[in-house]
Subunit: 234 residues, 2 copies
């Protein structure tokens, strides 16, 4: 899942000047307490499972249903690995996850497409972006936990099958291309807000929202590449 994220400038940056580079924030610096990280990330994975099985349910063809079931299985395995970490810390899953439920469910409602291919695009955009995000954030966790969380979040492959399904849907109906490009662009704002809600901004850093923006630079660049690979304008 692209863990060796190359440091590519976001399309919104006009120059690669050193001032920008200096502003770039390491996501790991903004990691919240381990139990907040785990509770939020696990709760988010429940909504990924819902998005994927909803798309599976609405997909008309067995080939797509089958592939979406397998992707849901991968996300479920990651969810179970995350909750295993909560248990390893002798914390209660319910206590840890419940505070994040309302936020992630609101996010799910906002990003839930109507047609099945929109739902697949939603999963592709949000699981892709947010998994990269949590992997970046995880670099700030205590090293044992970081290793296990990184392993959990990189289990299996979500990107390739979702890419393949969308590619197939677009090939069968090229008019989908502009619709899915619009839809995917529509998702990015909510996805960034969801990521933003997972950060803790230490007072010592005194960073303004504008200064936090560079933290998302690479994630947006990776999103743009994901869309490019599908021939969609991000």
């Amino acid at each position: 899942m692209k863990r060796s994220r190359p440091r590519v400038e976001a399309p919104t940056l006009t120059s690669r000047d050193t001032a920008t580079a200096a502003l770039r924030v390491d996501l790991g610096e903004l990691v919240p307490a381990s139990e907040v990280f785990l509770g939020h990330c696990a709760a988010l994975h429940l909504t990924f499972i819902e998005q994927l099985t909803s798309a599976m349910s609405n997909a008309p063809r067995v080939a797509d249903k089958d592939e979406l079931a397998r992707v849901a299985g991968v996300v479920l395995t990651r969810y179970q690995a995350l909750t295993a970490e909560i248990e390893r810390l002798a914390l209660d899953k319910t206590d840890i996850m419940q505070p994040h439920l309302q936020g992630v469910e609101e996010f799910e409602r906002r990003t839930q497409g109507f047609a099945w291919h929109e739902q697949v695009a939603s999963a592709h955009v949000t699981v892709g972006f947010l998994t990269e995000f949590w992997l970046g954030l995880a670099t700030g966790l205590p090293s044992d936990l970081r290793a296990r969380v990184t392993a959990a979040l990189t289990t299996g492959d979500v990107h390739t099958p979702l890419h393949r399904i969308l590619e197939r849907a677009i090939a069968a109906n090229p008019a989908l291309s502009s619709r899915l490009a619009l839809w995917s662009r529509r998702l990015v704002g909510d996805t960034i807000l969801q990521a933003r809600s997972g950060l803790i901004v230490h007072n010592a850093h005194s960073r303004s929202e504008a200064q936090l923006e560079p933290a998302f630079t690479e994630l947006i660049a990776e999103h743009t590449r994901r869309m490019d690979r599908l021939g969609l304008t991000a």
Copy 2:
């Protein structure tokens, strides 16, 4: 998953006379061709996954969501084991499953509850009944396939967690008891029809629908016991 089904009379039978016993049909005699069995059973498992993740999505508490996610994971593992058998026979999943999609989706629509606890009850009743049914039917498959299908359908535990969730919901709100009893009774007819659609009636047997009924005797008895254990009248 109760594979050693005791031969118990159905509650609808008024006596244990030998005439009734003679009428009892071994489900294994009514098994269709292996690819029809596998295609139908795999397609049905997709709808089970949908039912369970829909209940997971609607459940308000993390504890229930978490448990439902794990049950969905068990059913997903069974689904993958069934599709592995389709591939082992060098058959195409899509070709094999597609003919059964409309029927199982219609079944899912009819048995999909509104409230989350109705959805859990739906999964409990339909997965319970139909897994027993397919296990009975599987006794008529070629022996290698029978062993692997039996292993697939008995992987993990679906019954215990669904029972526990319903028990918890009823304990928290005893008024649910009669509502869930009614709802579960409402499901049995559609569930039997779904099972019926998986049988092949060999002409050589010349059995009428009425004669097939005893094949379901044990399944209905097991359903009744499942409801009893929840304190619900079947």
